[in-house]
Amino acid sequence: MNATAAFCPATVDEVVEAVRAAPRVIPIGARTKPRLSAVDAQAISTRRLTGWVEYEPSEYTFTALAGTPIREIREVLAERGQHLPFDPPWSESGATLGGTVAAGCSGPGRFRFGGVRDFILGVRFVDGAGRVLRMGGKVVKNAAGFDLPKFFVGSLGRWGVLVELTFKVFPRPDATRTLDLGVEGFADAMQVLGEMSVNRWEPQAMELLPCGHRLLLRLAGPEGSLQPLADEILRRWPGQILDPQQASALWSDLAEFRWAHPDGVLLKVPLTPDLVPALARVIEGAGDVRMQIGAGGNVAYLSSGSDTSSAALLSGLRELGLVGLALRGQGPLWWGDRPVTGVESALRQALAADDRFPELDA
């Protein structure tokens, strides 16, 4: 797989050449989610395709090349008091903007205002025939044309090479507080999450740590407003406010998936909070599987440490009708039955993706 060295185009023209130079290609970023690009195809790396195209803080938008590291984007936005509210993961590990879009990965902050799909505004990409196309727009609101930018979220590099992306950003809240609440396992945690989700506090993020007994909650807003909110929550549930250093270490551990088996399989499984207790039982029975529940119970990240536990996990997911996507590790890309439609192959043809990029199932 990817036996030959990756092409490393430094310009969009070079990306076009690279796409045309091999019968089957796959774009790669920093490979923080290596399973997604572990296919038999010539890799086109966006490593040299980095930098800012436009950033106008007063517009709440920026445009950058696809290989630009998320870390750099966060730093520059932070200097101007702005951020991508969905906390793109793996930024310390070098994740790129394009890779984040293609992988469709959002972090804890997606709970309040949505994920990558909700902040992407425009794309420039090279299709399978080597055409350079721009879709979407560069302003915060635009309804012209089909929303191909959203479609590229989760496209796994199978539909075109993203070369440039435009995003909407938000002002960074003045202050944050991280609350660490004690819960009695997954079922109890989901109860707390349920109540939290409809209450007045408007938390930005709600994550259950892999141990299943600690619920991390992030409040954000004007400095003066947070203490009373935190106090009220702590009167309702046992817990504590973490000091900023502790908090940022925990959030960083989550964002970098340090809790996962380093060489094991890592799956992303979208679900709803009501399914979490059943999935927790599967995990218990499977052996060496760790689970982290994110986005207020809307996603499970599962890390399996052995082949036997993986097999048990797969059958458990099937039983629950869940579908997982493998971000890291050996084994299939899709865990469970990915729904396939007829229009999918028609659209692959339309973007000339069918003969240039690997199948979505590869």
């Binding site: 205002f113 979220v153 960074r172 007045r200 909070p273």
Partner: protein, 481 residues
């Protein structure tokens, strides 16, 4: 249209739900863009999603064009009937199938009216965020097709940001189901691609929407300014402050005049522009932001600042805002609404140029806009009885749209291309990009039977007729934003 090809469709429904008599068809001849009219061959009124699927499959077999129709409030001719085609009217598919307060989702049929979702969610302390001005009448199916917006888009996004799952019948007759109840997903975002398709991909049958907790506290302020520029500067200052208001809206003098006449809204005397700012969230954070906002607004030298003291006053502010456009109907026999977007920092410049261009065209133009999004809604007033007036109004509208594109914006923020702006698509996209959009369309609809003649520039020019108020607007049921 040969009768035998239609026969198969007609056989799918009882005669009272298959309309073909001219007097029955008249109500479906146009949508919110009343300048265009076309009589459909027939109107089908399905009562179940199975019937919709059968109708679409029969259209596909017979190669008959169709347009899905919700409430017909599209402002760009999206639901204008298609040449030789049928209208599939979805209003009877109006059930909220599920409202789950724990998962915070609603599963609805396409004919459910936008504000019904909001109302159903309210008792659970939840909210359906997208709030187009037509919310009391437009359908979720129409909102999905047009990725409709509203007054709270900067913070909450458009319809697409709230669609979690979709079941649809594509123009090929294929039934698909994408996404689901989770807020997260894996694989390409098909729901995102389908939303905003302008009826060109197929018909949405069942839509799963996310609901949000209703903000505990609102703080809504109306500030009157001597000049539009001052109002624009205030917006810039608010944006620069790092606050994220739920809404930032501006109305100009002519729009104010209209609103005062229509809903007896009273605005500070002597003001040329009014800014509406809304903060929302937990009471503690609204209180903090409110102090900052007061300081910023005070520094912006308004003639007067009027914070809403209670829910009733807040609603009154919004009523004036949301009725502004239909109110303009009182100032002029006819008007055209535009929907261009410009980068926010160029709003002032855009407005000045609109004033100049209107003066040159000898037409009056009222402005109401989503200042936070840079989304302009210039309203061009004219008298359709005067020869050439409509053409002059359209020419002015065209100049405004081209200016938006030149400034780096868009020809539409939320009303869609439809039939109205299809000739402007090439201003936004290069030929190979339009070609790509067409290829995407063909993947969903190779026969081009779903809403043909829309979005893409084409030879068939639909019949222009006399514009005016939407019948429901004239009756005061809805207003235009």
């Amino acid at each position: 249209m040969p009768k035998d090809r239609l026969h198969e469709l007609a056989a799918l429904l009882p005669p009272e739900r298959w309309l073909t008599r001219p007097e029955q068809l008249a109500a479906y001849e146009s949508d919110g863009l009343t300048a265009y009219r076309k009589r459909p061959v027939a109107v089908a009124i399905p009562e179940s999603t199975d019937e919709v699927v059968e109708l679409v499959r029969a259209c596909h077999r017979a190669g008959i064009g169709f347009v899905a129709r919700g409430s017909g409030t599209s402002l760009s001719g999206g639901s204008l009937p298609v040449e030789g085609g049928v209208v599939i009217a979805l209003n009877r598919l109006n059930r909220i199938l599920k409202l789950d307060p724990v998962q915070r989702i609603a599963v609805v049929e396409p004919g459910v009216v936008n504000s019904q979702v909001t109302q159903a969610a309210a008792p659970h302390g939840l909210l359906y965020a997208p709030d187009p001005s037509s919310q009391s009448i437009c359908t979720i199916g129409g909102n999905v097709a047009f990725n409709s917006g509203g007054a709270h888009c900067l913070k909450y996004g458009m319809t697409a940001n709230h669609v979690l799952g979709l079941r649809a019948v594509l123009a090929t007759g294929e039934c698909v189901s994408w996404g689901g109840r989770s807020r997260e997903s894996v694989g390409p975002d098909w729901c995102g691609l389908f939303t905003g398709n302008e009826g060109l991909f197929g018909i949405a049958l069942e839509i799963t929407l996310q609901l949000l907790p209703k903000p505990e506290r609102y703080h809504t302020v109306l500030a009157g300014y001597r000049t539009l520029d001052q109002a624009g500067d205030a917006v810039a200052a608010i944006v620069a402050s790092g606050m994220l208001p739920g809404a930032l809206e501006i109305m100009d003098a002519l729009a104010l005049q209209a609103a005062s006449a229509a809903v007896h809204a009273e605005y500070p005397p002597g003001c040329e522009a009014v800014l509406i700012v809304e903060l929302e969230g937990p009471r503690e954070s609204v209180e903090c932001d409110r102090l900052r906002l007061d300081a910023i607004l005070a520094a912006s030298q308004p003639i007067e600042m009027r914070p809403a003291r209670d829910a009733e006053e807040r609603l009154a502010i919004w009523k004036g805002r949301k009725s502004a456009f239909s109110a303009v109907g009182r100032l002029s026999p006819d008007f055209l609404v535009q929907d261009g977007v410009v980068p926010r920092r160029r709003l002032g410049e855009a407005l000045r140029r609109i004033v100049e261009m209107s003066r040159e065209a000898g037409l009056r133009c009222a402005n109401v806009f989503h200042a936070g999004d840079g989304n302009l809604h210039p309203l061009i007033l004219f008298d359709g009885r005067q020869p050439g007036a409509l053409e002059r109004a359209e020419a002015l509208a065209g100049r405004i749209l081209r200016m938006c594109v030149e400034m780096g914006g868009s020809i539409t923020g939320e009303h869609g291309i439809g039939v109205e702006k299809r000739d402007f698509l090439p201003d936004m996209f290069r030929p190979e990009e339009i070609d790509c959009l067409k290829r995407i369309r063909s993947a969903f609809d190779p026969l081009e039977i779903a809403n043909p003649g829309k979005m893409f520039p084409g030879p068939e020019a639909p019949a222009l007729s006399r514009p005016g108020l939407h019948p429901l607007e004239a009756a005061g049921v809805i207003s235009r934003e």
